[in-house]
């Protein structure tokens, strides 16, 4: 028999994961940054990486957001098929975001796309909430606050099947064109296949993947070629442009080849909490 999960638990969990994500860089990201700083041969690049690491430590110690762009709160919610709730789960997440905006606090980042009128951090389709159904009776809430600078450098292109060989170049070129704007060292999330919109969703999930998950051959090859560009931390030159390339795949239509690239800044914020049902 499952326990009923109540609305207030979700609201509190949302505030908790947002606070953790905004103030504490995930351990795998911090380790990756330290390891590239130790290997970096460019002195300017080392000043940038050292500042980034110092900043992450300072934010954690003082429980303050590491970046003033506290991002778009993107939620991935795994709902257990046997979980019992009697409230609107998405509305509870929206309430949690509104409260977190006051309590942490978060920068009011939501605006109407055309009038640019600011509505705080809750608006139409904002925060972005995605649901997946999973076995069990728990609800797992993951948040990925996504900064605007890196999101703006993301690209989606519909290739034709005969252009398979162009995909690699497209990924490297996208990173080159982004230069220092997405706050490198970046994580390159790639979605290959699916539909137009699914490829973008896959790219976002790829950008969310932990950095200590081993890369496959293609991901490793792309990472090495991207880093050979010499863009470096913050675009000021150096050995480290990307920390990792992650690719997710889905089958696609016989006539299509969608490729989406979602770029994540070094402040690759994410946190999860599980509510037990």
């Amino acid at each position: 028999m499952s326990d009923v999960i109540v609305e207030n638990q979700v609201i509190k969990a949302v505030i908790q994961v947002l606070r953790q994500a905004e103030t504490e860089l995930p351990g795998d990201v911090l380790s990756a940054l330290k390891s590239v700083r130790d290997r970096e041969s460019n002195p300017i690049a080392r000043t940038q990486l050292s500042a980034i690491i110092k900043n992450a430590d300072f934010a954690k110690e003082n429980v303050i957001p590491m970046c003033q762009d506290t991002g778009v709160p993107v939620f991935f919610v795994d709902v257990g098929r046997e979980a019992m709730i009697n409230f609107d789960l998405e509305e509870a997440i929206r309430k949690g975001v509104a409260r977190a905006t006051e309590e942490i606090p978060l920068r009011p980042n939501a605006v109407h796309p055309l009038t640019r009128e600011n509505s705080g951090n809750v608006g139409v389709g904002f925060p972005d909430v995605n649901f997946d159904f999973v076995p069990g009776k728990n609800i797992k809430i993951t948040v990925m606050p996504k900064g605007g600078g890196a999101e703006n450098m993301s690209v989606l292109r519909m290739f034709t099947p005969s252009e398979v060989d162009d995909v690699k170049h497209f990924i490297i070129e996208t990173v080159k064109n982004a230069g220092g704007k997405p706050c490198p060292p970046i994580i390159v999330g790639v979605g290959i296949g699916g539909t137009f919109d699914k490829s973008a969703r896959l790219a976002k999930k790829a950008a969310l993947r932990r950095l200590d998950v081993p890369s496959d051959d293609l991901e490793q090859e792309l990472l090495e070629e991207i880093n050979s560009l010499g863009i470096g931390p913050m675009g000021l030159g150096g050995d480290t442009t990307a920390l990792k390339v992650n690719i997710e795949y889905a089958h696609c239509h016989v006539a299509s080849l969608p490729v989406a690239i979602n770029i994540q800044c070094w402040a690759a914020r994410r946190a999860s909490v599980t509510l037990e049902g």
Partner: protein, 185 residues
């Protein structure tokens, strides 16, 4: 080379540092991003002084209790302000632009007039710690991130000279090398 500069900045102050040098700034910085730039260009009179000023591409997170406190104040992507910058430098005596990621097509406008300084992107926690006082806020009707915040700072940095006042652009050099490299892949 490392330099410490103090606002208001003179021409002599900003002529010295070269692209790639490190600068720390003492004194006053004023935030200005997209909408503030538009208003600066369309205004005949402004309620603050920009002669010898350092402007900061930044949309801060502030909190007001009795007075305003900075919570997270860091650089935003400067490229968005590129188009408006030459006219802005023509109109006001701005001597330093602080931001991140570099700017496009501003080398000539900066020549012997102004320097572009890069604060490490995303490093708002340490930047906020270097703000000693919130002196003023203007144009709050534009919203918290877009308003002009006047901060008193101490040892603000490390700032890398991304574009100097002698026509050197570190980002353009990096981009040129990346363009050559991608051809060989």
């Amino acid at each position: 080379m490392e330099h410490t500069l103090r606002t208001p900045l003179s021409k002599a102050d900003i002529i010295k540092p070269r692209a790639g040098d490190i600068v720390y700034l003492d004194g006053i910085i004023l935030t200005a991003r997209d909408t503030a730039h538009e208003r600066l260009l369309s205004s005949e009179k402004i309620p603050f002084d920009l002669s010898g000023a350092a402007i900061f591409h930044c949309g801060p997170l502030m909190r007001k209790n009795k007075k305003w406190t900075p919570i997270a104040v860091g650089p935003t992507t400067s490229a968005r302000m590129s188009k408006m910058t030459p006219e802005l430098l023509e109109k006001y005596g701005i001597r330093a632009i602080i931001g991140k990621g570099g700017m496009n097509g501003v080398v000539d406008a900066l020549y012997e007039k102004c320097i572009y300084l890069a604060y490490p992107g995303g490093c708002a926690a340490i930047a906020t710690d270097q703000i000693k006082r919130v002196k003023e806020v203007h144009w709050l009707d534009l919203g918290m991130p877009e308003a002009v915040w006047v901060f008193e700072v101490k040892q603000f940095g490390p700032l890398i000279v991304g574009i100097d006042a002698h026509g050197n652009d570190l980002y353009a050099e990096v981009e040129k090398r990346a363009n050559e490299q991608i051809k060989s892949l």
